[in-house]
Symmetry: C2
Subunit: 335 residues, 2 copies
């Protein structure tokens, strides 16, 4: 068994073998959880649910692969909603001919990342399609987390003067993917930042009462994420370009290619709005953690309960301009 | 906006429009559930989780489409585990150029079927990939159901003499898909049986204490489903070929093509093992319901607690032979 064949997707003998030899091998198997479905107790009454499909190209990239990304992305979605990630399901759509060795490596990464972040992969599904009907491998992960009442976020408490903090440098994932494609002849050693933030976020929520909202600025980047927050919750944010942490090589690549790091995807960063009284404490916790070393206060809420919220950027040259959502195509298949 | 473009998948302005105009339009939107993730109370402590990706080809077929199938498939997976289907997430992987009109029709079917079966679509995700990187549209659905303690299935109670019942004719979905492909020049008016069985199953579980196990015989067909049960729970089943309900036109198509209906996929059938004292009551309930009119007792448990369980078929000519899992390719992309 070296390559995936259509028969691996038929639900018969070969599907059984594939599940045993590739998935159960890495994900394990228990009374509670079978690969096709799971029945399990949930230790609370309020849960968070999120789903994402991963179509990243290439499947392996500096700093990770599609499997690691599928776990970290779903874990982070749950964590920023104030939930403790609990279980994840995984659906694999595989192209006929895909090397089993690569599939095993990807599944192994998923298992490792799931263990690190303390989630169980409880249910799965595999489909195989003919060569040319999917580009290698897509993965869907759906995550369920348990909301901790005492950590429930309070976006309605956002007020003028609140601080906006980002946990580290932005744009790393976007540039790492671009660079891995080598489409642009771009050679950098930027690695994707893809990482599970749940332990860091849990520590922040446990220590700091004044965290109003958190988001993970993935597709569309930091700017799009903040625009959506401004619109959804009717406040205005002003961010200070000079305070936004960007790696030199990421900025360099952006300058050459004409990209703005504010619109590039991140896969291991959290942006949060915090009571300004708590900002130093939040920064201390972040900087003390491997995944938050480059955290920075990047701006503040300049008006709350606005009719229509907006995102403003104070540029390095002192002018202020409004930022909108990412518009049009910039980087397809970034996650 | 007539066709999907890559920019619809970038997480920016066009993604926002797509979600508003296509998904929220059909799925609705509430305080609790946003399209990207959801936070909601779950009315019990034990839940069932299942995930499936749908890659069916063609996307529209007699009796349904990929969207309806994604809902019924996930609802049925939950229902046969004894759970009340509660919420569903939906992940869309869309090919650039896909007609928005078709996407709307599919999403509309999903919303209609979800309403019929009483589940809420609470979270979603869309990814767009370049032309040629996926064949039209794949959908992943993950479902969460609530286990009713009093309806918990008891596979460990299976004993010699228990009856095996199937809720209707088998192989309809398989032949409908084959026929829709027109690859074989086959013209039948067989429709897919795809339907949500949760209300029927709920009624059965409420009325009959002696239901030991239920399964939905999808990929791999009735035979593969029964072989898996026999192996997992160490019993032997003998089914009587003459009692297995098969539509005449399905049997005719199978005869011409060399398929065995026992190995063809079903998307609206349940097979169950029931205390033989309850078999008549189960049949009555089934036959009284639109989705169970052709229900039939097809066999019985001939030994339980066997070292290695197996599936035996008493053929129409009186011989008995062992059936195995589906082996090798028969019908790719059936669901």
């Amino acid at each position: 068994m070296q390559r995936i064949s259509l028969a691996h997707g038929e639900g018969g003998e070969l599907t059984h073998q594939l599940i045993q030899e590739v998935f159960i091998q890495s994900f394990g198997h228990s009374e509670q959880t079978q690969f096709d479905s799971a029945i399990l107790p949930i230790p609370s009454q309020t849960i968070a649910i999120t789903t994402d499909s991963y179509v990243v190209k290439p499947i392996f990239f500096p700093g990770g692969n599609i499997g690691k990304l599928a776990i970290t992305g779903t874990v982070n979605d749950l964590a920023v909603s104030g939930a403790i990630p609990h279980v994840i399901t995984a659906g694999f759509m595989i192209e006929e001919g895909f090397p089993i060795k690569n599939l095993k490596e990807i599944v192994h990464s998923m298992a490792g990342e799931a263990e690190k972040s303390g989630v169980n992969i409880v249910a799965g599904d595999t489909k195989v399609v003919e060569k040319g009907s999917v580009d290698g491998l897509f993965i869907n992960t759906t995550g369920i987390g348990v909301i901790q009442e005492e950590h429930r976020l309070k976006p309605e408490m956002v007020q003028e003067g609140d601080s906006v903090i980002v946990s580290g440098t932005i744009g790393d994932h976007g540039i790492a993917i671009l660079s891995a494609r080598q489409e642009l002849g771009l050679l950098t050693d930027v690695k994707s930042d893809c990482a599970s933030l749940n332990h860091l976020i849990h520590e922040l929520l446990a220590e700091i009462k004044g965290i109003r909202i958190m988001r993970d600025p993935t597709r569309g980047g930091l700017a799009t994420t903040l625009v959506e927050l401004c619109e959804d919750f009717h406040f205005t944010v002003e961010i200070d370009e000079a305070s936004v942490p960007v790696r030199k090589d990421v900025q360099g690549a952006c300058d050459i290619l004409g990209y703005d790091p504010l619109y590039l995807a991140n896969e291991g960063k959290v942006v949060m709005i915090v009571d300004s009284n708590d900002k130093q404490k939040a920064l201390d916790i972040l900087k003390n953690h491997e995944l938050g070393r480059n955290a920075s206060v990047i701006g503040q809420i300049t008006s709350s309960h606005a009719q229509s919220g907006k995102l403003l950027l104070k540029t390095a040259v002192g002018t202020t301009r409004r930022l909108n959502r990412l518009s049009g195509q910039i980087l397809p298949r970034i996650c």
